[in-house]
């Protein structure tokens, strides 16, 4: 029963606690470095390119298909109640409020988060971060902060693109394919979707998810064991932790935002 040994338990608890403390400190440093990052905007710009532009294709295609499926399924259910016209409203509300931010965050974690973790982890394993410190260059400021802010900038834009493309996909299936009246498709949507309560809160959600996913990816890479196994473990746990945090946060945010 070695794992019940008080010294072992104490060690495990202390390591975890120290990990949480370090992660919090890193998070606060990254937030505080916001001004410095945007001062050297080139670095952030490059990261927006790698995190945002390179994810655009997967986001667009996924959004399109999610919109297709939502319209098909929504139509199937709604036409039983003779309200197939409301399919536009259903597609728009589901995308703008939930699916847009959440699915984008999950894809973002898989597409961009993993590459961040692997990159930082390999830099650590290759002792590049240590070399930077030797040259009095702060790796958090030079490497992590631009990636963090690049992720925060990219994520809401990607989520908005996802939702917009999804609505267009829903239109394509519902109006062009099934033959729902185009006028009532849009007018029901416009009557039911509120700009601030639905679209605004959706954007807010995607910002929070952007912070969450990017931070988890960076933290995992920065704290990983500097070995090939360590990097691979960190990459895996980025996806797992980011996905779980996004889903849990989504519940909390939804409960807070749309609690009426």
């Amino acid at each position: 029963m070695s794992w019940l040994d008080p010294r072992e338990v104490g060690y495990a608890v202390r390591t975890r606690l120290a990990g949480v403390g370090e992660a919090t400190r890193l998070f606060l440093r990254l937030l505080a470095l916001g001004g410095a990052s945007f001062g050297r905007f080139r670095l952030v710009l490059d990261q927006v390119f790698f995190l945002g532009n390179r994810s655009l294709s997967i986001i667009t295609v996924s959004g399109l298909f999610v919109g297709f499926v939502l319209a098909l399924q929504g139509y199937y259910t709604l036409q039983r109640y003779g309200s197939a016209d409301a399919v536009g409203l259903l597609v728009a509300l589901s995308l703008v409020r939930e699916l847009g931010p959440v699915v984008t965050a999950l894809l973002f974690a898989g597409r961009a988060g993993t590459s961040l973790t692997a990159e930082i982890g390999l830099m650590k394993a290759g002792e590049q971060l240590a070399a930077m410190e030797m040259m009095a260059v702060d790796p958090v400021r030079r490497v992590l902060a631009p990636r963090f802010w690049g992720g925060i900038v990219s994520m809401p834009l990607l989520a908005a693109v996802f939702s917009a493309v999804g609505i267009l996909g829903g239109w394509l299936v519902a109006v062009a394919l099934i033959g729902v009246d185009a006028g009532s498709f849009w007018s029901q949507m416009q009557a039911g979707v509120d700009v601030w309560a639905d679209v605004g809160n959706g954007v807010l959600k995607s910002v929070v998810f952007g912070i969450t996913v990017t931070f988890i990816a960076l933290q995992q890479g920065y704290a990983c064991k500097p070995t090939p196994e360590g990097v691979s473990q960190a990459t895996t746990s980025t996806v797992v932790m980011a996905s779980l945090s996004v889903l849990a946060l989504d519940f909390v945010l939804t409960a807070m935002m749309f609690s009426i």
Partner: protein
């Protein structure tokens, strides 16, 4: 450095994202139907508002002329106090009637404003005197049943069926 190439693509990406937000706000949302024109507030009291919600439309002759600003409960009269924001360019006689109506069979509830014949117009802070409550299905059915029960049994109606 190949940074200038990134600049273009990042710029394009940001523009696409902004266009998507704009699309969501204008085409999917109701930003266009929000009007930033001047409004004045009148109050209508209802015994029962049914499923009326804040930001519901106020329509006259089927055209949107305002929005429901807020719905509160009046503890003194036990009525619902509905504040309406009407557009300043539309004036309604003082004896206009506010009804709670439903668009379609399952649609949203809105307020229909029927103009009266008074010489004077509603001003800010006025109370709409004549109101008609939302139709509550249960009350309708019970009224129907009572009136049925009050009728003399003209024909044999076994089982009380319709």
């Amino acid at each position: 450095m190949q940074k200038s190439r990134h600049d273009i693509w990042v710029g394009l990406f940001v523009l696409v994202g902004a266009a998507a937000v704009l699309f969501l706000a204008l085409k999917a949302g109701n930003l266009l139907s929000l009007n930033f024109g001047e409004t004045y507030q009148v109050v209508a009291k209802f015994d029962n508002i049914g499923g009326l919600k804040p930001r519901a439309a106020v329509k006259s002759a089927g055209v949107v002329v305002g929005r429901v600003e807020s719905i509160t409960f009046d503890g003194k009269t036990y009525q619902a106090r509905v504040a309406l924001q009407l557009e300043k360019k539309f004036e309604f006689p003082k004896d206009s009637m506010a009804k709670i109506l439903t668009s379609g069979l399952l649609g949203e509830q809105y307020i229909g404003l029927e103009p009266g014949v008074d010489e004077k117009y509603l001003a800010a802070g006025d109370v709409v005197k004549q109101t008609q409550d939302a139709v509550v299905l249960e009350n309708l059915i019970s009224q129907f049943l009572y009136s049925k029960a009050a009728e003399p049994p003209a024909a044999p109606a076994p089982g009380g069926g319709k």
